[in-house]
Structures are given as C-alpha cells and as structure tokens.
Symmetry: C2
Subunit: 224 residues, 2 copies
DNA sequence: ACCTGAACACCGTTCAAGT
DNA sequence: ACCTGAACACCGTTCAAGT
C-alpha cells in the first residue's frame, strides 16, 4: 500500500556540491522550509543520506549555500551610470523578488551572521550610499538601516508564506488578515483597524519600495 | 558516571500555563534557542513531557506565548504627554532592550505572523505616526517601515548571539567581525572595508536609535 | 576518492494508564 | 481533571563497510 516516492531521476552525473545545493533549493521551493531533510534530499539524488556529507559539512552549510546561490543570482550587476537612488531601489527589489520567489531565504537571511551573501548586499547598498554624498560618519548607519529594513520585510514575507496554505492566493490572504484587523477591539487597536483597508488593497512590492524611499528621504535630508 | 541533572526544584504549586511559559523563558535565556526541548522543560518542572501538552498545544504555541510574555513586559505604557517622536523612540527601544536581554525573541518575532504581540507594537507605532500628522494614506507605509526595521535589527541581533559563545564580550565580538571586514578583498568589498572601523567602535543601542531617527526624518520630511 | 545505508542520539508528540 | 512516562515517527549525523 505504501505508494512509491516520486521516482528519483536516474543518476548519471556524479554527486557534487552544486547538484546537492540545486536539489535542496528545489526541495525548499516545493516542500517548504520543513521539507528539506537529508533523507528527502538523498531520495531525490538517488543515494543515501550519508553521501551528502562527503560534499557538505551539515545542514547549516547546506542552507547557507542554498541561500547564497539564490541571492547571488538576484544580485546581477546593475548597468553602470544609474543614479544611486535608482541603483539602491534596483538592488533592494532584486532581493525582494528573490525572497518573494523563495520565501525561505527570508528566514535564512535573518539568521545569517554578517557573512556572505548578506555582506554582498550590504556592500552594494553602501557603495550607493557613498555615491549619494552621505558623510563618511553617517554611511554605516544609512546602509545598516536599509539592510535591516530589507531583512525585516523578508522575515515577515517568510512568516506569511509559512502561515497559509500554498494554494491560497495573495488577495485571499490579505482579505483574511484585513478582516481580522477590522474586527479588533476598537479601544486597543484603533490605528490597526483604521489601516485594515489599506492592507487589503496594497501591493507588497510597491509598499516595499515606498519603505525604501522613506529611508532614502531620511538619508538624504541633510545632504541636499 | 552520568551526572545528575541540576535537581529540579520541588514542585509545590501545580503545573500551569504560566509556570510552563516562565520555565520556557528561563530555559531559552540560559540554554539558548536550541535548549528549549519538552524533555528539558519537563525536567525543570519535575514532570514528564506529556504533562506539558495538557496546558499548551505544542512547541509553536509555547514559543509564541514566551515571546508574548517578554514583549508585553517591554511595552509598558509611556507617560502621556510625550512627543510622538520621543514616544516612538521609547517604544522601539523597549523592544530593542527586550531583544538584547532575550536574543531568541528576535528570531521569534521575525517568524511571528502579523498577530499579537507584533500587532501591539505596530499599533503603538501607528498611533504615534498618526500623532505626527502623517496623512492617512501614508500611515500604513510609515508604521510598516519602522516595524520592519525593528524586526530586521532583532533578527541580526539574534543571529549574532547565536554566532558566538555566550562568554565572549560584545567588544571582543565586534573586534573579530571588524577585523574580518578589514581583511576583505578591496576590489569586491571597498565600502565594507571602509566602515570596518565604525563597526568596531559603535554602540548597538545608539546605532539602533540612529536608524529609527533616519526613518522618522523620512516620514516627517513632507509633513513640515 | 566516493558512496552506501544501518545505527545512534536525539527530537516533538501521542496515548494508555494511572491518580 | 490532571499527570505520567513509555512508545512512535521522525530528525541530523556518524561510520564501518563497500566500490
């Protein structure tokens, strides 16, 4: 009665770090954050769980490598000559879109110590902050603020993705949350109730950029 | 040879949801995010793992309840009559200090769906954003930006706390990271290298408020 | 050098049995 | 009603044995 697992593809190529990471990304995308186990991964690669350890030290390294690969793809170098503000928006949107397509990297980035690939994002933002003419002493704060905002959004995206069934549409989800906000106690949650409507109609991506722009306004306020 | 576990305190009071949550907070604080298991918790409460399930649905609910309790304590109502900007700073710092004392809530808040206790923070921020005179259409964006920034910082704090041994001092940790930044490839990480010094000397808490102020500047830029 | 898969030391969770 | 603790179905990880 035990149904056969979806038969693993014939393994022609030998195992490699890259094939393992690629399979892990697929598993995370299709089965969610809880779906990545060494056994499931080994099944997909038509091998035993132990084989993976020859190429990867452990689960932490696997998760980091998977996040690294996805973020690296998102960080295509922007065309030279763009204005700093536009370049920052492009960079941030690149990360946002990657987090939208692979919600699990939101969780992962929030957990990653200040190492690659987070550092690459920080570097990219920082360069443009410099280009904006922000005084040196304020550059660290400015770049950190932008990065932390991006990470916060990513975490929330990941949490929301975990929160509902993958088949419920975005609009459906927003409707549900919006309705629950509208039903909150008016004494305790006056503000939240008042923006419940905005939540229902909002566009995640536009909202995300609006936040970036808000911070950019703050960064450049004293710069001219 | 197996050393006795630190003997559980005599259990005089009956088990209760509150005692369980309190013990969970202690365990998370002392043993870290990985230290909270139903078995360890049961030991501390001088009972079996199954007993806990009579009071709490499962681990997710336990984690949520623990975070809820800690955040609730941090959100003491600020004295009436404070300026909105100051009230937002106080609110944010309350959350920051809580995350500093209990790094695991950084992870937890980043994971929490838009439910309590996150919602209470959002509500508090939103009220003050209203008080700032931000137009209604922009209030949601403004409050979200602040909240997401706070969550991002919390996630990084938690990641850093996980990253090093609990006995290494803050200064030691910053020294290590700063040194590793200073050793990065100058071609790829010019900006990051240039702020390595600022990282070593910075004050987390002051840096956090500086970020809040940056966003507040952006929020009020078009308001007068 | 690389792969295999049984085995180990854990988890969260359940549940029959007790009081 | 509440507690107990063995048992179940998992995990990540290791490792002797194979090729």
């Amino acid at each position: 009665m035990a149904s056969r697992a979806p038969r693993p593809e014939r393994r022609e190529e030998p195992l490699s770090r890259e094939r393992i990471v690629e399979a892990a990304i697929e598993l995370l995308d299709t089965a969610g954050e809880g779906g990545l186990t060494f056994r499931a991964l080994a099944d997909r690669l038509a091998t035993g769980p132990g084989a993976i350890y020859w190429h990867i030290a452990g689960k932490d390294e696997l998760l980091t490598a998977a996040t690294d690969a996805v973020v690296a793809r998102a960080l295509t170098p922007d065309p030279a000559g763009t204005q700093p503000q536009e370049a920052i928006r492009a960079l941030a949107l690149g990360v946002f879109d990657a987090m939208d397509a692979h919600p699990w990297i939101g969780t992962q980035l929030a957990r990653a110590p200040a190492q690659s690939p987070l550092l690459r994002v920080f570097e990219g933002i920082g360069c443009q902050v410099q280009a904006l003419g922000v005084p040196h002493a304020a550059q660290f704060t400015a770049a950190s603020a932008l990065l932390n905002y991006i990470l916060g959004v990513g975490g929330q995206n990941a949490a929301n993705a975990r929160g509902h069934r993958p088949d419920t549409s975005r609009a459906e989800f927003l409707d549900t949350v919006s309705a629950s906000w509208a039903n909150l106690d008016p004494d305790e949650f006056a503000f939240t109730r008042s923006v419940a409507g905005q939540l229902r109609d909002h566009d995640d991506r536009a909202e995300f950029v609006a936040g970036i722009d808000l911070i950019l306004t703050g960064i450049t306020a004293h710069t001219g």
